[in-house]
């Protein structure tokens, strides 16, 4: 790719990204940072776990995103009686024209571009695990047959942190498959006023698709490939690896808080999430290469949900985000 073409590709990425952001912002009031993180994960090819109290716009963000991108959208409301087949699809007996009966696969709601798994922690672990294969390998296996999911495939799962009764905590393996975890904060006074004004009128603002629906999947795939082309120098890789190792007890230079409060640190997927997210950040900044600051910017969203804390952390009221911030601080000091 010549420098001029590469420059143009970067500008195109920036334009698309900011256009989608603007469209989503038409219907979603506030949450700018959360939207940026969600879009970053989308273009990096990952999935996002959204945590927030009810009624602050989790579902609206996801729906608006799908609309703005011009991609297909499905929603699954997770409940305790939801079965895996309700997600992946199932085989039904069908009679062909010649009278012969055969099994026919009826795809579930997972076969879409943007999937909202609402209140994912209300389903049983077995049902939650039905998403694992789709999220990690972009395919679903039913009765020994694998069916590829649509591309691009983007899962946004929501968690309600206040109603924990009758919920099942997500298994670590499933948590690890989410590229980022986003916490939606309660809206401020001015944001709440704007929400009231925009949602109680005769016409609710709807985002227009930035990408034409027929070419949107291909465009998104192109942009995702562009993200993968961003250069990462060895020193950035070294830094990222050291950062991920530093979240693990006994992983070299460890902050005191890690040693005291962390049972298991981030997996290598955390490092991948950091680099992929940083690549998107670099493109948004108009650069063809990743800087260490890009990594640092994405650390809380990429690593916090991968840490397994111990009882001491719970009793001390120390959260994963706080520990990750401390590790990041010590890494920054060491680098300075």
């Amino acid at each position: 790719m010549t420098p001029a073409l590469a420059d143009a590709a970067i500008r195109d990425f920036q334009t698309t990204f900011s256009a989608v952001r603007q469209e989503v912002a038409k219907s979603v009031v506030g949450h700018e940072q959360a939207i940026d993180v969600i879009l970053t994960a989308f273009f990096a090819g990952g999935h996002v776990l959204i945590e927030g109290v009810p009624g602050i716009g989790k579902t609206l963000i996801v729906r608006s995103l799908a609309d703005a991108l011009g991609l297909g959208f499905n929603r699954i409301q997770f409940t305790i009686d939801l079965m895996p087949a309700d997600i992946t699809g199932t085989r039904v007996v069908s009679e062909a024209a010649n009278g012969r009966r055969e099994f026919l696969f009826v795809p579930g709601p997972v076969f879409t571009h943007v999937l909202l798994a609402d209140e994912i922690n209300r389903a049983t672990p077995k049902t939650q695990s039905a998403l694992l294969e789709a999220m990690a390998e972009q395919q679903v296996t039913v009765a020994g047959t694998s069916y590829p999911v649509a591309s691009p495939f983007f899962v946004l799962a929501t968690l309600n942190p206040i109603e924990m009764e009758g919920t099942y905590q997500l298994p670590e393996a499933q948590l690890d498959r989410f590229l980022f975890k986003v916490r939606l904060a309660y809206p401020s006074q001015s944001e709440l006023e704007r929400i009231l004004a925009t949602t109680t009128g005769a016409e609710a603002p709807m985002p227009r698709p930035v990408l034409a629906p027929e070419e949107a999947p291909a465009r998104v795939e192109t942009l995702r490939r562009l993200v993968r082309e961003v250069l990462v120098a060895p020193h950035v890789e070294r830094y990222t690896a050291a950062l991920v190792r530093a979240t693990n007890p006994g992983g070299g230079r460890v902050d005191d808080a890690v040693e005291r409060y962390v049972t298991y640190g981030s997996s290598p997927r955390g490092g991948q999430a950091l680099v992929l997210g940083a690549k998107v950040m670099a493109l948004l900044d108009g650069r063809p290469h990743v800087d260490i600051d890009d990594i640092n910017r994405i650390v809380p969203a990429a690593l916090a949900h991968r840490l397994v804390l111990n009882f001491a952390a719970e009793t001390a009221g120390v959260g994963a985000v706080e520990i990750v911030e401390r590790v990041l601080g010590s890494m920054r000091r060491e680098r300075a």
Binding site: T2, P3, L231, P234, V236, R287, H289, D293
Partner: protein, 408 residues
């Protein structure tokens, strides 16, 4: 060098990187030298000031503190240089941070060090941006001041302070041992030495307090009690103080002197030195420029020794006796246990202040070989030094003082 990136682009970048590194490291080295030099000059100035003005114990304490401060400054400077020194391998990352290139430079150079695996789509763009952005991180931009001005100003200020102390050193000279003259031979001895009026310069009394190394050492040893090591440090420090004083004021600065003012004192020093050298000119020794006139007179005086009248000194021996003929007087502190040593001023032997030029025929050799002995011993037999309880000091000084017009 990797084939992934063109050498024509990488070489100018690496040359410029070297220039930036040299400029920065040179600046850091200069800063370190300036700071350490400023510290040395400042400590030197303070140490000389202390040596000239302070008593031994404050000199030891102050000197120790100054020395420690300077060592701490040196250690801090070395630590700072080590911390801020930019190594070749880290230069690109350092320039990146300093010039705000957001990793552009270090990414290019790090990737260039790697073995090429696959072509990068964004490689040409990275190369092109680096080649175009060379002017963003020129040595003058990254390291704006090659010479650290603050450190240089500190060095100049400290050197100025040192020079000022050296220039002012003669003014800092403590008062010489006092020799007080009283007018009138018939005057009674003064009731107290302190009450003497210096303007009536006729009576010579024993020198006033001055520095006596041996006395100071004894005092220091008393002060430190049974700690021989501490006493040794004090003695060494006192010796250093003495050497500094000798170096600044010249050897023998603490000899007794009857001159009153600074300029007169200096002139008197020269005269006294000339007299002394003339007196022991036969013993040899190096002669300075001031001694040039005195030396021939000293040589000729041997032939004119007998030419003078009774009571006159020989021409080579000088006409005034050194007040400290029997050694440098010392005064100890007036404590109940202390004793002071009285140095007796020698009698005045002649009226004239200069050695008499040789005159008349040379004296026969015989009497020189066997000079006639006096018929009897003088009534006043000099006792060179004698420890006397300090409470008797005024009385003893008054008793042993000599009238200026008294003849032997």
């Amino acid at each position: 060098m990797s084939e992934r990136f063109p050498t024509a682009v990488l070489e100018p970048i690496q040359r410029q990187l070297r220039r930036v590194r040299w400029r920065h490291n040179g600046s850091e080295l200069q800063r370190a030298v300036f700071v350490v030099g400023a510290g040395a000059a400042g400590v030197g100035a303070a140490l000389i000031g202390l040596a000239l003005r302070a008593p031994p114990v404050p000199f030891v304490v102050g000197g120790g503190v100054l020395l420690l401060a300077w060592l701490a400054l040196g250690a801090a400077t070395v630590w700072r240089v080590r911390r801020r020194w930019v190594r070749a391998r880290r230069t690109a990352a350092w320039v990146d941070r300093r010039a705000g290139l957001r990793g552009r430079l270090v990414t290019l150079l790090e990737l260039a060090r790697q073995q090429p695996v696959a072509p990068h789509a964004f490689g040409p763009l990275l190369v092109e941006r680096n080649a175009r952005g060379l002017a963003e991180w020129t040595p003058a931009r990254v390291v704006p001041t090659a010479v650290p001005r603050t450190a240089l100003a500190a060095l100049l200020a400290a050197v100025a302070a040192l020079v000022a102390v050296l220039l002012l050193a003669p003014q800092l000279r403590p008062p010489s041992p006092r020799l007080v003259y009283l007018r009138g031979a018939g005057d009674d001895w003064p009731r107290g030495v302190d009450g003497l009026d210096g303007s009536s310069a006729q009576l010579v009394v024993a020198p006033a307090p001055g520095a006596d190394p041996t006395a100071a050492e004894r005092e220091a040893e008393r002060a430190t009690g049974d700690a021989p090591e501490a006493a040794s440090i004090v003695v060494e420090a006192r010796s250093l103080q003495q050497r500094i004083r000798d170096g600044v004021w010249g050897k023998g600065w603490d000899d007794g002197d009857a001159a009153a003012g600074g300029g007169e004192r200096a002139a008197s020093d020269r005269k006294r030195d000339a007299r002394r050298r003339a007196g022991d000119g036969s013993t040899g020794g190096a002669a300075g420029p001031d001694d040039a006139a005195a030396a021939p007179r000293a040589a000729g005086s041997r032939t004119a020794t007998r030419a003078g009248g009774a009571g006159d000194g020989a021409s080579g021996a000088g006409t005034h006796t050194d007040p400290n003929l029997y050694g440098i007087p010392a005064i100890l502190p007036h404590t109940s246990e202390a004793a002071f040593q009285l140095a007796l001023a020698a009698r005045v032997r002649a009226e004239h202040a200069e050695p008499r030029p040789p005159e008349g025929p040379a004296p026969p050799a015989g009497p020189d070989l066997r000079p006639a002995l006096a018929g009897r011993q003088r009534n006043e037999a000099a006792v060179h030094r004698m420890p006397v309880p300090s409470r008797y000091e005024p009385l003893v000084r008054a008793l042993f003082a000599h009238r200026a017009d008294e003849r032997p």
